[in-house]
C-alpha cells in the first residue's frame, strides 16, 4: 500500500465523518467545521488517488489548492452569516424551519 492510498483511504473516511457531522449537530460552528472536514476528505482523495503509484501528480495538487481557496471563501461566508444570525437571535443554531403556513 502506497502512502497515496493511505491518504485516499483516510480521506474517504474523513469525508463520511464530515457528512454525518454536517447533518447531525445543531450548533452552527460544528456544522461549518464538519463541512471543512468533509472538504478536506475530498481533497485527500483527490491528491492521494492521483499519486497512488508513488510519483507526485501536480494536476490534483493544483486542483486542491484551488479547492482549498474555494473552501476558505465558503467557510468565511458561512461564519459571517452564522455570526450575524447569532447577533440577531442570540443563538448559534438555525431557527426551526420557518413554517409560515
Amino acid at each position: 500500500m502506497t502512502t497515496g492510498m493511505i491518504f485516499a483511504g483516510s480521506g474517504a473516511i474523513l469525508f463520511a465523518m464530515g457528512v454525518a457531522g454536517v447533518l447531525l449537530p445543531t450548533h452552527l460552528l460544528r456544522k461549518i467545521l464538519a463541512f471543512n472536514i468533509m472538504g478536506s476528505g475530498a481533497f485527500l482523495v483527490l491528491v492521494g488517488l492521483g499519486q497512488r503509484s508513488g510519483e507526485p501528480d501536480p494536476v490534483p495538487q493544483a486542483m486542491v489548492l484551488t479547492g482549498i481557496v474555494v473552501a476558505v471563501a465558503a467557510t468565511a461566508l458561512a461564519l459571517a452569516l452564522a455570526r450575524r444570525l447569532q447577533r440577531l437571535t442570540g443563538r448559534m443554531e438555525l431557527p426551526p424551519e420557518a413554517e409560515r403556513d
Binding site: A16, M17, L23, L49, L65, V69, A73, L77, R83, R84
Partner: protein, 222 residues
C-alpha cells in the same frame, strides 16, 4: 426519534466510508497520464514549478474563477450587514503585544514577497503570499493597531477588485492574440508574475477584509 435518525446517519456514513475505501483499492491504473504531459509542456508554461504551471497556465482558468469566488465571499458577507458607525480609535492597552506585532509584521511582509517570488520554481505563489499578508493585517487589528474597516472607499474597492480586474483584462487581451488565457511563450513568465503581484495585493485585502469587516464583538473590549 432524534437518536434513531442520528444512528441512521452514522450507519449510512459508515457504509459510505467502507464502500469508498474498498472500491478505491480495486482501481486499475489510470489510462491518462497527465504528469508526463505537464512535464513535457512545462518549458512552454513560463514557470518552472509544475504546480504553479498547472495553477496559473494549464488550468489558469480555474484560478480566474477562484479569485472571483473569494471576492464573492466578501461581497456575500458585506451584502447583508448594516452600515455601522466607525469605531473610535482605541489606543493599544497592552505594551507587549503591540511591540511583538511591530516586529513581526515587517517580517511577514518580507515572507509574502518571498513566497510570491518563489512560486515560479517551488511551492508558493500569490495565494500563499496573500494569506500571510492577511494574517499580518489580522494581527495588527487584534492588537488594536489597525481599526476595523467600516467603510468601503473607492481606494479600498479598487484594491479589493484590482487583482480580478487585471486578471480579466489580461485574459481578454490574450483572447485577441489567440485563446482565452493563452500566454505567448516568450512573455508567459512575466505576464504570470504581473498577475500574481496584482492578485497578491487584492487577495490579501480580501482575506483581511473577511475579518476586518466583521462587526466588532463589543463584549470582548468591555
Amino acid at each position: 426519534m432524534k437518536r434513531i435518525a442520528g444512528a441512521a446517519v452514522m450507519l449510512s456514513a459508515g457504509i459510505l466510508a467502507m464502500a469508498l475505501v474498498v472500491s478505491m483499492f480495486e482501481l486499475p491504473p489510470p489510462a491518462v497520464r497527465l504528469p508526463q504531459m505537464v512535464q513535457e509542456k512545462l518549458p512552454q508554461s513560463g514557470v518552472e514549478h509544475p504546480v504553479t504551471a498547472v495553477l496559473l497556465n494549464f488550468r489558469g482558468y480555474d484560478t480566474l474563477l477562484e479569485v472571483a469566488v473569494l471576492l464573492l465571499a466578501l461581497l456575500g458577507m458585506l451584502a447583508g450587514e448594516r452600515p455601522r458607525p466607525a469605531a473610535p480609535d482605541r489606543a493599544p492597552t497592552d505594551p507587549v503585544l503591540p511591540g511583538l506585532t511591530r516586529f513581526l509584521v515587517p517580517l511577514m511582509g518580507l515572507t509574502a514577497v518571498y513566497l510570491l517570488w518563489a512560486g515560479a520554481h517551488r511551492p508558493g505563489g500569490a495565494f500563499q503570499a496573500a494569506a500571510v499578508l492577511a494574517a499580518a493585517a489580522v494581527l495588527l487589528h487584534l492588537t488594536d493597531l489597525l481599526p476595523a474597516w467600516t467603510s468601503l472607499r473607492l481606494r479600498l474597492r479598487t484594491g479589493l477588485a484590482g487583482g480580478l480586474l487585471v486578471f480579466i483584462t489580461v485574459a481578454a487581451w490574450l483572447l485577441g492574440e489567440g485563446r482565452l488565457l493563452q500566454y505567448p511563450v516568450a512573455h508567459a513568465g512575466s505576464l504570470i508574475l504581473f498577475i500574481e503581484v496584482a492578485l497578491t495585493i487584492s487577495l490579501g485585502l480580501i482575506l483581511a477584509g473577511l475579518f476586518l469587516f466583521l462587526p466588532d464583538d463589543d463584549e470582548r473590549r468591555r
